[in-house]
Amino acid sequence: MLSRVAENIYWLSRYVERAENTARIVTVNANLLMDLPKGIAPGWRPLVDITGANTLFEEHYKDYGERQVLKFLIGDERHSGSILYSLEAARENCRTIRDFVPREAWELLNELFLHAREQLQKGLTKGGRHSYLKHIVQSIQTMTGMLSGTMLHDQGYDFIHVGRFLERADMTTRIIDVRSASLLPAEATELRPYETIQWVSVLKSLTGYQAYRRSEQIRVQRGAVLRFLLQHDAFPRSVGHCLDTVRASMEKLPRNEGPLRVHGRFKRNLEAVVPGRLSHQQLHAFIDELQVCVGELHDEIAKTWFPPPPEAQSQSQSQG
């Protein structure tokens, strides 16, 4: 497989996953806000915090109101984390590798992008939002199924997995970071019932509530939720599970020593803590560390399997 193609497949997969994750967190936030009393509801700002694009947001919007945040997350094409941008970038990546992606999957992605763009105004209304986002999540799930069911499970599929699960690990750490930081003040005992609601919403952002219930069989509480989301090996959106999947795919790829080494360091960092014992501050620092690991793993993957950046090419050529 061409290095350039591997890179495109990887980004196709990351962008599709990003669109789905964004659609999920918007949906869940909307539900959460309906459950919390007005005074303590964190509003919409945390969603922008999750994407880390606050500077860009503040350049173009005057406040973190619902309409502004939704526009930014769903339909702002200047924002590389927005659903529309992600779908368009996924489609552009897919367009250049049409010979690798099953035709039905390309058609579906193309259709999804056109639909998302045409129906954008509806998707931004309170009434239309839910079905708009649901359509996006479902289409992407369908696409994932199509790839799994019809795409050749060769190197291309390995890069699909690597991209998807690295992106997912990235998003899971971001969600944990923002959601735990914006939780209620510890001393406010009268707000206890709402704390549970917030942790439930963290789980739900990752579609993990039902799985948590089945797997943990205890009430929703901070330490158990953090362990579940960071280290559980069978929950498909936990950082640990994502890393295991990335590894399994990388093991099948040639010349994988570098990426596997960086991966090993990442996994050791992840396993080294008992997340429930970390204070707010420590948790935040720990998540930062994991984010750096995501970046390092990406860099190593790019260095090993993707084409050299244009300026480096002439050098590598003269080496034959």
């Binding site: 350039r4 367009r95 010979d99 084409p307």
Partner: protein
């Protein structure tokens, strides 16, 4: 409302489906009745279904906008097929093979002994001023002595029913993917007509193309590494490049994916490391192929590619320099070229052509511009030409100056009465002008597509079929005669 074939205008032009008011051509007698039975509402509904299918299948082409950006447009397609009886097609097919065989001999001769010039049949001055002649290619022996492996020739039918060759595209002709996709869409929207008329299949083109390319491999092996080389996603024909690579199961490479090593072999960068490449189906113009040999500023090409080709370590299709025959002045000599190399008369005639380089022809052209189509020698896509009957006086005067300044660069042809095919316009069927681009493959043997890409000028009265200028396309059915006898 219903379709009434008696009202369909078919007196002024040769219509491919309608022979006379209310009467279909022999091969399609029943089709008119079938369309009539479906009725306009159903036809419009099916046209809409086709448009949706095309959008969902992502069949697009790219046009350059005035602001310098590019836009992806969905492919405009009309569902009413164009029909050619098989017996007529067989003659056309033989004519195309003859033509391309002669052109390949001609190109090979130009890059070697230039016998045709020495024998006085082809003017040295035409070659001297050819913009597509590549001195870098002189003396090269490409595999099988073949230079133009993939040729797209444009055919038109005049008012009296004669089919002419209008031009030959021997550089990087495009359109074949749309031919294949049009067929898929037509099968979706007209399943019942399709089953009944059973047009001959077109879908073996990708495997024929692969066989043609594989036959050129410098390393005889069961699995030569064949790649399709594209300038990238902003090229107007990118859709086609990706489509053909996918259909052939080949890598679609860009210049930056390839490199040439110190032993003049070509490799591509893969996840597994460097991999040797045997055959490159390049969809990128000569001048951009190799910055070492041609334009130094080309970022699309591969440094050293020409070196590797000359050393015989990689095959390029079409061969660099093949475009020398893709010149409208050379076109005007094709009947002589066929006679010279094959000692035969052309099976398909050329459109009568005035070579402005010849004083009599120049005088005639300047005196009759109003009736003629005047074309520059090396433009494609319908750009830079003058359509006399549709021009204004000042346009003609300006154009006359251009021709006088550089007569070698122009030819003139009578304005043909291009044939028509019924086309859905609003809620009615109206005649629209068409041409036809079949594709001819040449390597160890020659093959021609079953029909080709029918392009249609969607604007009333327009003769310009290019998709970049408001043209659309149709499926082309080659119909075996016996199906009518049944």
């Amino acid at each position: 409302m219903r379709i009434d074939w008696n009202d369909y205008p078919c007196d002024d032009f040769y219509d491919e489906l309608v022979a006379a008011p209310g009467k279909g051509r022999e091969a399609v007698e029943g089709l008119l009745a079938d369309l009539e039975e479906l009725g306009p509402d159903e036809l419009v509904a099916r046209q809409e279904a086709a448009d949706v299918a095309i959008k969902e299948m992502g069949i697009t082409f790219t046009v350059y906008s005035e602001e310098g950006g590019t836009i992806d447009r969905t492919w405009p397609f009309d569902i009413i097929p164009r029909i050619i009886p098989q017996s007529e097609w067989e003659r056309v097919e033989a004519g195309l093979k003859q033509r391309v065989q002669a052109l390949n001999l001609f190109i090979d001769d130009l890059y070697h002994d230039q016998r045709i010039i020495k024998d006085g049949l082809f003017p040295a001055e035409v070659l001297a001023k050819s913009v597509n002649f590549r001195p870098q290619c002189v003396g090269i022996d490409p595999p099988l002595q073949t230079w133009a492996h993939i040729c797209g020739s444009d055919l038109v039918r005049d008012g009296d029913g004669t089919i002419y060759v209008l031009e030959d595209n021997l550089r990087v002709p495009s359109g074949v993917s749309y031919m294949l996709e049009n067929r898929l869409v037509t099968k979706r929207v007209f399943p019942e007509l399709f089953e009944h008329y059973a047009p001959l299949p077109v879908d073996d083109y990708p495997s024929q193309l692969f066989d043609t390319l594989a036959a050129l491999s410098p390393r005889p092996a069961d699995y030569p590494e064949v790649v399709v080389m594209t300038p990238g996603i902003y090229n107007s024909a990118y859709f086609e490049h990706a489509y053909l690579a996918q259909q052939m199961g080949c890598e679609l490479v860009e210049g930056r994916d390839l490199f040439v090593d110190d032993h003049d072999c070509v490799y591509m960068r893969t996840v597994d490391g460097a991999a040797r490449v045997d055959v490159i189906y390049r969809r990128i113009d000569d001048l951009f192929l190799d910055p070492e040999a041609f334009l130094p500023e080309s970022a699309l090409g591969v440094p050293g590619l020409l070196r590797a080709w000359k050393a015989g370590n990689v095959a390029l299709a079409n061969a660099p320099g093949a475009g020398v025959a893709d010149d409208k002045v050379v076109y005007a000599f094709v009947p002589e070229i066929i006679k010279y190399y094959l000692d035969a008369d052309p099976i398909i005639p050329n459109v009568p052509t005035y070579r402005c380089m010849e004083p009599d022809a120049l005088a005639y052209t300047l005196a009759h511009m109003e009736e003629l189509v005047v074309k520059p020698a090396n433009e494609s896509g319908g750009y830079g030409m003058l359509v006399g009957p549709a021009s204004t006086k000042s346009e003609r005067e300006k154009f006359a100056e251009l021709v006088k300044k550089d007569p070698r660069n122009y030819i003139a042809q009578p304005a043909l009465k291009l044939s028509t095919v019924p086309t859905i316009i609003g809620h009615k069927l109206e005649p629209r002008h068409v041409d036809l681009r079949p594709f001819i493959l040449s390597a160890d043997r020659q093959q021609v597509t079953m029909g080709g890409l029918t392009r249609v000028a969607l604007r009333k009265g327009s003769l310009v079929v290019n998709s970049s200028q408001g043209g659309g396309s149709k499926d082309t059915w080659i119909l075996p005669e016996q199906s009518e006898a049944n």
